[in-house]
């Protein structure tokens, strides 16, 4: 390897500032070429290995790719020495693409499909039904309901099907010697025997094993049964000779295929695939159709929730921090520790405890309120919309307060004491010195915190999911959009809890809508608070 030429100036090894524009694209291009060719080498290496070792696991391709990547990068570095600094950011670029860009792209792609757990492109085993009659390209099937394509976007038209011949052949064996099984009559001609089932009377079920070789009526089993079998009850597992066709249309039990079946093929059963595909803007239209019962009320409450939380938490946090910042206060460390406790405990647990506290008849909150005669009927904290919303805000205050308080305490300690002394000399009371000295100096420190607080609470799934689980159900909403659901919990409900779960297509569409809304809200936010402006240091 060529040693670095020490006689050259160190600057020559760094990317040149003047040509950044050009070399940026050139460098990225080179890096991507390296990554692409390494992936290609990985795939080729894997395929070659498969030829030698058919059972080679897929991850061996990664080893090939990695080794080729190192070699390619070395070669590139020799040819273009100015690329060296870029190698430091190469891992970051790879991770950026795999973990950020790739999921984002997948989300956008999925949002325009009807992909779901039951529309996953696999064979629908449930739909398998017997074929009663074949007439050219028209088949008559037995069980229409099980076959039906109602959950696919265009019905059965254009959906792939698999047609196959029978796979089980009951027969009788005469003799078993170790792993050699002799049948009474040879296996059906033209079909290969994959396995055999031997009934074991001792266990009350049939023993399955693969067949290694078959020669007429003699089968070589992979393994001998662990208990003596009843040879009278032997079943052969034949290959399920299968062909794939596409359906053109279906009318009741009659299905039209795109091309006729091969002449020699004796079809017994048919199953369809769970085809998914493009639905265009269908998912977005579904969301808009629910605008009045889901999107708009949920968005309104989401904004209300985030804004109120930020305001209430900030005011309370600043208030407590100013109190705790008083140098004359005794037991300051104790108060501070106690107030930080909610932050230190995992909220996945504390929120469950709060759920118990807020129970209408058995919870501590209502018992206390009634003990002090604040109310004489128990408040249905989690069962009615506005109490539930108040409960969410209250618990979120309890959760968020320590952070706001600690942040404010940090900012307060940076304010010089002299300023307060000067204010005192000028005759300001505590109130005036707060508004005249503390507030303006806290502003710069608090604005970024409140902005992140808003962004965090706007998508604060934990509190909603664990405290109220989006409930209670309300008359204006749907079963996925309820009293305290925010956008993100609504998306979760739609994607993972309705339609039998895994409605990734619709879920992706909702997350794109949320993305657009969040960007818009953040932009307005930044504009109003001026956070994007470069502020001169005060």
């Amino acid at each position: 390897m060529k040693a670095i030429d020490l006689s050259r100036d160190a600057k020559e090894f760094l990317p040149r500032a003047k040509s950044t524009g050009v070399s940026l694209w050139r460098s990225l291009l080179l890096l991507f070429a390296a990554l692409a060719s390494a992936s290609l080498m990985g795939a080729v290496g894997f395929l070659v290995l498969r030829l030698v070792v058919p059972t080679a696991p897929v991850y061996t391709s990664l080893v090939f790719a990695l080794v080729s990547l190192v070699l390619i990068l070395r070669w590139i570095a020799r040819a273009f020495d100015w690329i060296m600094p870029w190698y430091y950011v190469l891992p970051a670029i790879v991770f950026l693409f795999t973990f950020t860009f790739f999921p984002v792209i997948m989300t956008f792609v999925l949002a325009f499909t009807d992909y779901a757990g039951t529309r996953n492109g696999e064979l629908n085993i449930k739909s398998e039904t017997r074929v009663l009659e074949v007439d050219g390209v028209v088949l008559t099937i037995e069980n229409v309901r099980n076959f039906d394509c109602a959950d696919l976007r265009n019905g059965c038209s254009g959906v792939r099907t698999l047609l196959y011949a029978s796979g089980n052949h009951p027969t009788t064996a005469t003799h078993l010697d170790g792993t050699t099984l002799t049948l009474e009559e040879p296996a059906p001609a033209g079909r290969s025997v994959l396995g055999v089932e031997l009934y074991l009377p001792d266990l009350g079920f049939g023993f399955e094993t693969d067949v290694v070789a078959a020669d007429g009526a003699t089968l070589m089993l992979e393994r001998a049964p662990p208990f003596p079998p009843d040879l009278e009850r032997t079943t052969l597992r034949l290959d399920r000779d299968a062909v794939t066709r596409t359906m053109l249309r279906d009318e009741g039990a009659e299905i039209t295929l795109n091309s006729p079946l091969p002449d020699s093929f004796e079809v017994e059963a048919i199953a369809r695939y769970n085809d998914f595909g493009w639905v265009g803007t269908g998912n977005f239209r579904t969301i808009l159709r629910q605008a009045t019962s889901a999107l708009i009320p949920i968005f309104t409450w989401n904004v209300l929730f985030a804004v109120t939380t930020v305001i209430v938490n900030t005011v309370a946090g600043v208030f407590l921090a100013v109190l705790l910042n008083n140098p004359d206060l005794r037991f300051k460390a104790l108060y501070r520790t106690l107030l930080i406790v909610p932050w230190a405990l995992p909220n996945i647990i504390t929120l469950q405890v709060w759920r118990g506290f807020l129970n209408q008849n058995f919870g501590a909150v209502n018992r206390l309120l009634m003990l002090f005669d604040v109310t004489d009927t128990p408040i249905n904290w989690l069962g009615e919309m506005w109490p539930a919303r108040a409960a969410v805000l209250l618990v979120n205050l309890w959760l968020g307060l320590p952070f706001m308080m600690t942040a404010t305490l940090g900012a307060l300690s940076a304010i010089p004491r002299e300023l307060y002394e000067a204010a005192k000399i000028d005759g300001a009371n505590a109130w005036q010195s707060f508004w005249g000295v503390t507030a303006p100096l806290l502003r710069t420190a608090l604005i970024p915190i409140t902005l992140t607080g808003f962004a965090f609470n706007f998508n604060n799934f934990n509190v909603i999911f664990l405290l109220t689980d989006g409930g209670p159900p309300v008359s204006w909403g749907t079963s996925t959009a309820r009293g305290t659901d925010i956008l993100i919990s609504w998306a979760y409900n739609e994607a993972f809890r309705s339609q039998g779960g895994l409605a990734y297509g619709l879920g992706s569409a909702i997350s794109i809508v949320i993305f657009v809304i969040t960007v818009a809200v953040s932009l307005v936010n930044f504009r109003v608070t001026g956070a994007l402006r470069e502020e001169p240091n005060t």
């Binding site: 059972t55 996953n120 662990p226």
Partner: protein, 396 residues
């Protein structure tokens, strides 16, 4: 260079051989059922010479994970502990193998009718059942020495026992899983069946006259009779019963161990007593079974292990160890001397397996909402709430 290549190839070949041997089994089970499972696995390995690796998966995550990873070849060969109401979706997604050919006539004859129906779709069996489970009336016999003979008697006894901080009869009434018993007993149903015996998702019986009468009966438990106060949820009910403050509840066998550990040992399990006119109560029940991965690379062994786990002898040991109610009739007969198992067994005789078609997925949400609204106040609109839920279910 050549030497390295040879080393590399041998290494990969070795890795490749290590794959495809033995079985990997996913299970959602814990505690006693897991202990049983480990025993059975060891016995199977000894008898068949097939090593089995157990992977524990979270119950709620098991199904989505299985759906996504089975086609990718990353799931286990078997999924043990699948509730039957998920089977429709697994079979439709192509990740549950057709097991009809594994079930011999003897096996089917011995099997409880509901367990068979639970795992059957379109005449094909998609899992081998291991045990059945479902709620029954659980009575704290210290508080109710004489079991009520009719539903009306039960309500009278419960009302007598309800005062202050002690309660007569409570259950998680906003939960459709439990409350379906009332809707069903009074004449409602989820999906009808067509001539072939398949569930018809278009025929919904959750807003018919019977369901409305059932809804009124559930509402009466809270508002007219004052048995189940507002704010009652699942943890409240089990907590009160464990403290001995609740005399009777409607819950499943999975809570029995917790109740016993909490010191409530004098338990009596029985069906909810029939209505005055003799109509028996008939709620939901579930069946748990083994699903075989159609993408399994070791299908023959996986099939053997599936049958091993579902054989009656295994169900007997499962019942003895963990109190699960066998799905096989001969196994149930062998453990019937346990009063709790016998009680649940009797209560489940009339029960109905939850519908196993994927359409059931869109029933829970709207029905939960409807029950909440019905229970909210004494003058809630039962018919209206159920009709709205029904239209939301059919609209999905």
């Amino acid at each position: 260079m050549k030497k390295y290549l040879i080393v590399l190839v041998t290494l990969f070949a070795g890795l490749g051989l290590a794959f495809g041997q033995g079985l990997t089994v996913w299970t959602t089970w814990r505690d006693l059922t897991l202990e049983w499972f480990q025993n059975e696995t060891a016995a199977f390995t000894e008898a068949f010479g097939v090593p089995v690796e157990i992977v524990r998966v979270d119950f709620a995550q098991a199904q989505p994970d299985w759906l996504l990873s089975a086609p990718a070849g990353e799931a286990g060969d078997l999924l043990v502990g699948v509730p039957h109401d998920r089977i429709g979706e697994l079979a439709a997604a192509g990740v549950a193998a057709n097991m009809t050919s594994f079930a011999t006539a003897d096996f089917l004859k011995d099997l409880s009718e509901q367990a068979r129906v639970g795992f059957t779709i379109g005449g094909k069996l998609f899992a081998l059942p291991m045990y059945v489970e479902g709620p029954a009336l659980i009575v704290n016999a210290d508080l109710v020495p004489e079991a009520p003979a009719t539903y009306e008697e039960l309500l009278a006894v419960a009302q007598e026992l309800t005062s202050g901080d002690s309660f007569g009869f409570m259950y998680d009434s906003a939960n459709f899983y439990f409350s379906y018993n009332w809707l069903h007993t009074f004449g409602g149903f989820v999906f009808g069946r067509d001539a072939q015996g398949d569930l018809d998702p278009a025929e919904l019986g959750l807003a018919n006259e019977g369901a409305i009468r059932g809804g009124e009966a559930i509402k009466a438990l809270r508002h007219e009779l004052g048995l189940i106060p507002a704010g009652t949820d699942y943890p409240t009910v089990t907590g009160l019963f464990s403290e001995g403050a609740l005399a009777m509840t409607y819950n499943g066998p999975w809570e029995i161990e917790n109740f016993r550990n909490a010191g409530i040992t004098n338990l009596k399990v029985m069906p909810i007593p029939p209505l005055a006119d003799g109509t028996p109560f008939s709620g939901f029940m579930g069946v748990q079974g083994v699903v075989l991965n159609p993408f399994s690379k070791n299908r023959a062994d996986a099939a053997n292990f599936t049958k091993w786990l579902a054989r009656p002898a295994a169900q007997v040991s499962l019942a003895q160890l963990s109190g699960r109610i066998p799905a096989s009739g001969s196994a149930l007969a062998q453990v019937n001397d346990d009063p709790v198992i016998a009680g649940f067994g009797q209560a489940l005789l009339n029960a109905e397996p939850m519908p196993n078609i994927p359409e059931m997925g869109s029933v829970w949400g709207p029905m939960g909402t409807a029950l909440t609204v019905i229970l909210e106040s004494a003058d809630s609109d039962v018919a209206g709430s159920l009709t709205q839920a029904a239209s939301e279910i059919l609209g999905n």
